[in-house]
């Protein structure tokens, strides 16, 4: 697709961009964590870029990444960063889109917040924090959004079991944490 955006970005901030690619036509740029705010400001304000509309913000957990049909070297191991935060932006005027991906290690899952630049990311960063535990620095109000305060853990991480419930209330005659029966066909 249009590599112009990626070329212009690499030309303007060569140190910040780790690599670029356009898988399936989506322009994607991998950015270093510390340069994210600078790159985002450039993308929002530069007249050829003008990315004024936020699309989404989410995170990918690479813990179980063993892709079929790719070399074994691409499988995840402890030396590689575990999380990737992805931001997608859109330009109303030029109609192009870009995805910024920032790789974060498991031991230090912090990422600068883009909530004051694009207000839509306020809630979406809260959602990413709620589900994956990524701390966004500079976020005005980082607290859980979908789950309740008493919930322990970050459910969308690959090591959180799908059916582990943490109930708040149960009927008087039902135990609050029943013994879980073994499930047949429990895969992945």
């Amino acid at each position: 697709m249009s590599k112009k955006v990626l070329d212009a970005l690499t030309a303007a901030h060569p140190g910040a961009v780790v690599r670029t690619a356009s898988p399936h036509g989506d322009d994607t740029a991998w950015i270093k964590r510390d340069e994210l705010v600078k790159v985002a400001t450039f993308l929002r304000d530069d007249p050829n870029m003008l990315f004024d509309a936020p699309v989404f913000c989410t995170c990918i957990d690479w813990l179980d990444w063993k892709p079929v049909g790719r070399p074994v070297a691409e499988h995840w191991d402890e030396s590689k960063p575990r999380f990737t935060v992805a931001y997608q932006l859109r330009s109303t005027k030029h109609k192009h889109r870009i995805r910024l991906e920032i790789e974060l290690p498991e031991a230090d899952p912090r990422c600068p917040s883009l909530a004051d630049m694009w207000p839509a990311f306020n809630w979406q960063e809260r959602e990413t924090f709620d589900m994956y535990g990524i701390r966004f620095e500079g976020h005005p109000d980082l607290r859980r959004i979908f789950l309740y305060e008493e919930f322990v853990g970050y459910p969308l991480r690959k090591d959180y079991p799908k059916e582990k419930r943490q109930p708040l209330v149960r009927r008087d005659d039902l135990p609050i944490n029943p013994i879980k029966a073994p499930h047949a066909g429990e895969h992945k």
Binding site: P23, H24, G25, D26, D52, A53, P54, V55, F56, T58, I60, D61, D64, W65, K66, P67, V68, G69, R70, A86, Q88, T92, K95, R99, W118, P119, A120, N122, W123, Q124, E127, M131, R144, I145, F146, L147, Y148, P155, L156, K162, H187, K188
Partner: protein, 417 residues
């Protein structure tokens, strides 16, 4: 009207004004916290709003979603691509076909099948999507009108919705949660006689819309409660990620069907209505106008639809023919692997989006080459729009929360995923 002294006496319990302390002389200046929801008739689905009010004026509103968080992403990591279709139905449950189409589009994009589907399949997808979009707008306008006290348009619009549900039931087998679309096409063809039935239905809907407009458009109570309430400027709409009817009512000219065309929309003629002020009344008018454009699109589709298969014959996505499945071992094995392992999508990541009832609905999927998605994120427009709610009802009255909330069209399943 009693003078100020007598009023204070009545309010503060028959004390003389001189006996009151200095702080009690004025009416209480503290802000009060009022809780709306999570179970509240106007909170479509379940959202809790903790309002901090100064009298009746809202100073701050803390909107708390998540009461319907049904873990779409986690469930889809454990289900095959075809098994995720029922979960997508329950995202935006007033326009389920559109969500189905979106999920099929993202899997097809990863497999490289975009634009290679049979034309009849694309037309059927557009027909059922536009029918779902009509049900979405009918429900939104009907429910909002009911919350403002207009019961009659609610019943009229629900009558129209019933006709559409009957037709969609004939097509897919279910009234609400269809799971009709498949990767590579749709699961079964349109039934016999569908075209004339749909045309008759659209004529009836058009006449009911005229009745509703007569009831609501120039109704003084409706206009007073909707006009000027919850206005959003064009820049704010873009910055906060608003899309769909909300952005279009503020003047943002963005419609995915026209700007990033997909499927067969380039061959169809339709207009994109734009509003000016971005208040609730404009959103209502934009939705009504879009409904009429949907009817226009459907009429064109029914004329232009070609004959042909409704499922791609690419062996990676299509089940083998039943005759072959029951008679040859290779087809039976292929059928078995297709169902048990799922459609094997090559490893990669992509974001595919389409125009949902509320705006740009997108799916960001990371695939690891097996038949189950590695990650499936839904970019839900309702979630983004709900985040603007606090900004919209600042400095309005508590009673204004009802039309603002209704016209945002926050669908709980889509917002909380």
């Amino acid at each position: 009207m009693a003078d100020a002294q007598t009023l204070k006496q009545l309010v503060l319990g028959r004390k003389d004004v001189q006996d009151l302390s200095d702080t009690e002389q004025d009416l209480p200046p503290d802000l009060m916290t009022v809780n709306m929801g999570p179970s509240h008739p106007a909170m479509h689905g379940t959202v809790r709003i903790v309002l901090t009010v100064d009298g009746e004026k809202i100073v701050k509103g803390d909107v708390q979603p998540g009461y319907l968080h049904r873990c779409f992403e986690k469930e889809s990591e454990h289900a095959t691509y075809t098994q995720v279709f029922p979960y997508t139905d329950r995202l935006n449950y007033v326009s389920p076909m559109i969500n189905n189409c979106g999920w099929a589009m993202v899997a097809e994009k990863l497999m490289g099948l975009t634009g290679k589907l049979p034309r009849r399949a694309e037309y059927v997808r557009v027909i059922v999507s536009e029918m779902s979009r009509i049900t979405d707008h009918l429900t939104c306008v009907g429910a909002s009108a009911m919350e403002l006290g207009a019961f009659t348009p609610f019943l009229y619009l629900l009558k129209c919705r019933e006709w559409l549900y009957e037709l969609l039931e004939k097509v897919s087998g279910a009234r609400l949660t269809h799971s009709y679309v498949r990767i590579g096409g749709v699961s079964k063809d349109l039934p016999e006689g569908f075209g004339p039935e749909l045309t008759a239905c659209l004529d009836k809907i058009a006449s009911v819309m005229v009745e509703c407009e007569t009831l609501l458009n120039n109704n003084k109570i409706f206009r007073d409660r909707m006009a000027g309430i919850g206005a959003i400027s064009k820049e704010d709409a873009i910055k906060t990620g608003c899309v769909g009817p909300i952005a279009r009512s503020a003047g943002v000219d963005y419609d995915v069907r026209r700007d990033y065309p997909y499927s067969i929309y380039p061959e169809l003629e339709f207009d994109v209505p734009l509003g000016t002020t971005g208040d609730c009344y404009d959103r209502y008018l934009v939705r009504l106008e879009e409904l009429k454009q949907c009817i226009r699109i459907l009429r064109q589709c029914l004329v232009q639809i070609p004959d042909g298969p409704v499922m791609s014959d690419d062996h990676r996505v299509a089940l083998p023919a039943k005759q072959a499945t029951y008679n040859t071992i290779e087809s039976m094995i292929r059928h078995f692997k297709h169902i048990m392992d799922g459609v094997r999508v090559p490893a990669g990541e992509t974001y595919a989006f389409l125009e949902g009832g509320n705006g740009e609905l997108g799916f960001f999927v990371v695939s690891d080459g097996t038949g189950r998605p590695y990650k499936a994120y839904v970019r839900s427009p309702s979630f983004v729009h709900l985040s603007t709610a606090e900004m919209l009802f600042k400095n309005h009255f508590i009673a204004d929360v009802v039309p603002i909330f209704g016209m945002i069209n926050m669908i709980g399943g889509e917002c909380d995923k």
